[in-house]
């Protein structure tokens, strides 16, 4: 039977390669029951899927949940409906950015991380944290993390100068593919 969907957000998700299975969800709760980040989330993956089915675009894309997913793939591996939930979260993050709704600190953190990798080829803590705190204006976070940061710096865990890989630019094509996806 041909599918007739009358709500635009659901249709948009269904048209994405990671979202074409969302109507298969029968709300068993395996994903939420598996999620290690569930304490941080407002809804959890099961409700997110239900909200997508109901077309609750704003609530889904503005929720912190999509940014707290740590891509452990537990939900995807255990889902009896074979819905690629982890990848779907990525799709939702992209949608949130495209609509300019991605206000959460996680976005800035992700961007800071990606830029550092692009520039240095590997993680360079000082630059990444600086970039994050500047773009996010996360003063509270800075104060909260300062003591541990100082400790790490004193123990030599946060280098002053970047320790680039041999060809930092060789990472750039990979980063571009990632951005496209």
């Amino acid at each position: 039977m041909s599918r007739v969907v009358t709500n635009p957000f659901l249709e948009e998700v269904l048209n994405d390669m990671n979202g074409d299975q969302v109507l298969q969800c029968y709300q068993c709760g395996t994903c939420t029951g598996s999620c290690p980040m569930i304490e941080q989330m407002q809804y959890g993956p099961r409700k997110i899927l239900s909200m997508i089915q109901l077309g609750m675009e704003e609530e889904v894309l503005k929720s912190p949940d999509i940014w707290f997913c740590v891509s452990c793939y537990s939900c995807t591996n255990r889902c009896p409906r074979e819905i690629p939930i982890t990848r779907l979260m990525g799709t939702l993050r992209k949608m949130a950015i495209a609509r300019g709704w991605a206000k959460h600190h996680e976005v800035n953190f992700g961007n800071a991380f990606a830029t550092t990798i692009k520039n240095h080829g590997r993680i360079y803590e000082s630059a990444m944290m600086a970039r994050y705190f500047i773009t996010a204006m996360d003063i509270k976070g800075l104060i909260a993390l300062a003591p541990i940061g100082i400790k790490m710096f004193l123990k030599g865990k946060i280098p002053l100068l970047p320790d680039n890989i041999k060809k930092p630019k060789s990472m750039q094509p990979l980063c571009e593919i990632q951005e496209k996806e």
Binding site: G29, G44, S74
Partner: protein, 853 residues
């Protein structure tokens, strides 16, 4: 030329046009159709009547047959499904072979769907009648042939379904063989403690039936045996059964058990789900039928203590060999049941890793009074009564990764186990994790309510994972509680998994042996999901119980009786009539006869009716009694060596020629199967779904019968567009006939496109018997395509493709019966173009030679 042929044959065809009150006459003008029919070759009389199906209408035909000496009849009225049998009976009454008849459907296919185009509808009615007359000129008298019936039945599988079927057949005085794979009959039901929703003791109600089987003079019980080979057809199956050696002689063994006492070897007992031990010499359970010991030679250390213990009885024979038993039976009932799924692949539930995670069947044995603990319910890690128990549903069922289907009875057996435990040990706290509860059986919902009343907790939410506390061996179940909308952790002393039911081991292999299809999960497929749920596509083989799909006990028993009824329907006859619309091989044309290697017919046949030995020098042979008459092999045969009675190449091509005689470029020609698409087109008529009148139908038994050559010939004749329409893949009346058609037509589509035929002009569709609206839509779309392209463009395309088509179709012309059906003029075209081409080639060569000079 055509007329001369007919005069030689001296055909006497009668055409009768029905008004159907005003149903036909208000749109189609019957007198015009009658007038037209009279001009058709071979027609000696054409008449009209208000109601052809009425007594006077039928008498009209009968009288004409007798008085005018008619030898063939066409009735232009309603659908094949509606009145073909009526008029065939008419012919039979007048002493004519009922197959000398054709129905021309001018109601569902014309008057009911073209009410706004009365003139075009009349033209279409004329074409339909012409097509039927063209076919009826080539039909031959056919006789339903009869095969003898061996009045014996075979039942494979001795679970409750097989037992029921055997007892029912035996009551009808039918000799019945019951073959069981394991040492005892009883099946899964014998392993259960109690049955839902009545809480009867399972073995207490089954054991008397098992004993009845062993006592019944009409039942021959063959246990510890497997069906190895099946040949033959309905009424005449030859079955090879291999009885495995028990190493204990059933006639001498008294079941005293002295041997078991002395046997030093202990292995896990399968009957107890491995929870208890059994000896190497064993009976699976106390109520086993036959109550005879069996030696498990894989476990036996050959100390021969059992031989000593048996003493003078001398019932033990270590030299016993497998025995081959040959049976001749008339029908076969497959009742092979199901297996429980091993939940190890679901790693997050830790089955096999955590001692206290068990399956529901293990729990069943643990609280059964006849079980390994004699009914003391304990958990495996410390053999203590668990104070809390978590039961998880849908483990491996409704799960796309493992088994997509719902196993049906798990909800109820989980609730049943919870109820038994709550009843025996009120102090156990029981929680059932469910996605849904499915309780649609009689009094099942009430049973579920009783469970709630009894204090069993139901949590909606499928657990994500189970962890084990390494010290207490308790289990922490993490699940999203849907009612509260938050994930929670629950601690249980023991967990039970309601595992899926899967097709029994060896089901697919048995399917191959029987030429009965299994679905992707291994369940046997019924002939029709609604109207023939007991039959298989192979006549004479029936299904009972869970072999067909998960079933609970009442359903299995019901189906066991039903299968016995279906089998007895055949076995109560001395002879069984078989439909004559079957395929047969023209031996001299078969490639294998001339040493070739071809097995296309074998590949095409879904019923194993073809005996084909590529490279043997022997022509393929079709066992008529096994052939179901789809005609797929006929279309697949690369050398046109197979013909289908009543749907010969000649007959179908005669129809094509009749339908495309005038203005072919304006017409849409549809080939439909008899069942889904044909009925779908009729449904469009019954529902009065209007579509354009430039459409024409040709009915075949299955889309699989539609030869690529028919489609090519349609285009060569100048057709505007062509449709091949069959059933949806899962509904094919002939298992996978339409899939063969799909493969064939997709290839043809590319070929035709290369020849310059617009891709929209040839379509393959699936229309079910209820999709009249879809049929009308397709007809509209295709008609639209023809109109948009315009006759000129279509003519140009056809002209361009014609030489290539003619070249390809030359193979068709020398197929049996085709030259009779095609007019002599047409034959000249095929041959003439060949000569022209030869001339052209030779002249080209001459030019080349001249240039060289």
């Amino acid at each position: 030329m055509e007329k001369q042929n007919d005069q030689q044959k001296n055909l006497r065809i009668g055409v009768y046009i029905c008004h159907c009150g005003s149903n036909i006459a208000s749109v189609v003008t019957p007198s015009e159709v009658v007038e037209y029919a009279q001009t058709l070759p071979g027609v000696v009389v054409a008449k009209e009547h208000h109601y052809m199906c009425s007594d006077p209408g039928q008498s009209l035909i009968i009288n004409d047959i007798k008085e005018l000496g008619l030898d063939r009849v066409v009735v232009g009225a309603c659908s094949v499904a509606m009145h073909e049998p009526t008029f065939q009976a008419c012919l039979a009454e007048a002493g004519l072979n009922p197959f000398m008849f054709q129905m021309a459907n001018i109601r569902e296919h014309a008057s009911w769907v073209h009410s706004h185009e009365k003139e075009a509808a009349t033209e279409k009615a004329k074409d339909i009648v012409a097509s039927s007359v063209a076919k009826v000129r080539h039909v031959l008298p056919l006789e339903r042939f009869k095969v003898p019936v061996t009045k014996r039945a075979l039942i494979i599988g001795g679970g409750i379904a097989g037992i029921t079927a055997a007892l029912d057949l035996a009551d009808m005085e039918i000799d019945t063989y019951l073959v069981e794979k394991s040492p005892t009959i009883g099946g899964k039901m014998s392993q259960l403690d109690k049955t839902f929703p009545t809480m009867d003791c399972s073995i207490c109600i089954e054991a008397p039936k098992m004993v009845d089987v062993s006592k019944n003079k009409n039942i021959h019980l063959i246990t510890y045996a497997e069906v190895k080979e099946v040949n033959g057809y309905i009424g005449n199956f030859q079955v090879k059964v291999e009885r495995k050696p028990r190493f204990v002689l059933p006639d001498l063994c008294t079941g005293c058990g002295l041997c078991e006492e002395v046997c030093p070897v202990s292995v896990p007992n399968e009957f107890e789900e491995g929870l208890g031990p059994r000896k190497a010499i064993y009976v699976p359970m106390a109520q086993a039928v036959p109550s005879v010991y069996t030696i498990d030679r894989d476990a036996c250390i050959e100390c021969y203590k059992c031989v000593e213990a048996c003493g003078d009885l001398q019932a033990i024979n270590f030299a016993e060999e497998p025995e081959e038993i040959n049976l001749d039976v008339g029908t076969i009932i497959v009742a092979t049941g199901y297996d429980t799924w091993d939940p190890s692949p679901i790693e997050e539930y830790g089955f096999n890793r955590f001692e206290n995670v068990t399956t529901m069947m293990e729990i069943e044995r643990l609280h059964c009074a006849g079980g390994p603990t004699l009914g003391d319910f304990v958990r495996p890690s410390d053999s203590k009564l668990p104070k809390s128990l978590g039961l998880i549903q849908c483990v491996g069922s409704r799960d796309k990764r493992y088994n997509e289907y719902c196993s049906g009875f798990c909800c109820m057996y989980t609730i049943k186990n919870a109820m038994i435990l709550k009843w025996l040990y009120p102090e156990i706290d029981i929680t059932i994790f469910r996605i849904d509860i499915r309780a649609p059986g009689k009094t099942y919902e009430e049973f579920y309510e009783r469970a709630r009343d009894a204090g069993i907790h139901f949590v909606q939410g499928r657990p994500g994972e189970i962890r084990e506390d390494p010290i207490t061996k308790n289990l922490i179940v993490r699940a999203d509680n849907l009612s509260l909308g938050k994930p929670m952790e629950y601690e249980f002393e023991m967990v039970g998994l309601a595992t899926a039911a899967v097709a029994s081991e060896g089901a697919i292999e048995l399917g191959r042996t029987l030429t009965v299809s299994n679905d992707t999960h291994g369940w046997f497929i019924e002939s029709h999901p609604k109207l023939k749920p007991i039959d298989t596509a192979t006549e004479g083989i029936y299904l009972a119980g869970s072999a067909q799909g998960p079933k609970d006990i009442p359903q299995s028993v019901g189906q066991g009786s039903a299968a016995a009824g279906r089998a007895a329907r055949v076995l109560s006859h001395d002879q069984w009539e078989i439909d004559p619309i079957v395929a047969y091989v023209h031996e001299e044309r078969c490639l294998n006869a001339s040493g070739g290697k071809c097995d296309k017919c074998l590949q095409a046949c879904p019923y194993g009716a073809v005996i084909c030995k590529p490279g043997s020098g022997e022509a393929s042979f079709i066992v008529s009694a096994k052939c179901q008459g789809c005609g797929t092999c006929v279309a697949e045969c690369p050398n046109n060596a197979i013909t289908q009675h009543h749907f010969t190449d000649g007959q179908i091509l005669a129809q094509v020629h009749a339908l495309l005689d005038e203005k072919p470029e304006e017409k849409v020609l549809a080939y439909t199967c008899r069942w889904c698409s044909g009925m779908g087109a009729d449904n469009a008529g019954v529902s009065h779904f209007e579509y354009p009148a430039n459409t024409r139908n040709i009915l075949v038994m299955c889309a699989g019968r539609v030869d690529s050559d028919f489609v090519m010939e349609s285009f060569r004749m100048g057709a505007g567009s062509v449709l091949v329409s069959g059933c949806h893949p899962q509904d094919c009346h002939y298992i996978d006939g339409r899939n063969h058609a799909e493969d064939r037509m997709q290839k043809l589509h590319t070929q035709l496109e290369k020849m310059g035929i617009s891709p929209d002009r040839f379509r393959l569709e699936s229309v079910s018997a209820t999709e009249g609206a879809k049929w009308a839509t397709i007809m509209k779309e295709m008609s639209e395509t023809v109109k948009n392209l315009g006759p000129e463009k279509i003519k140009i395309e056809n002209e361009k493709a014609r030489p290539q088509l003619t070249k390809k179709l030359k193979r068709m012309v020398d197929a049996p019966g085709v030259s009779d059906a095609i007019s002599a003029d047409e034959l000249i075209i095929f041959k003439g173009e060949e000569q022209l081409k030869e001339k052209k080639l030779s002249s080209e060569k001459d030019i080349v030679k001249e240039v060289e000079k």
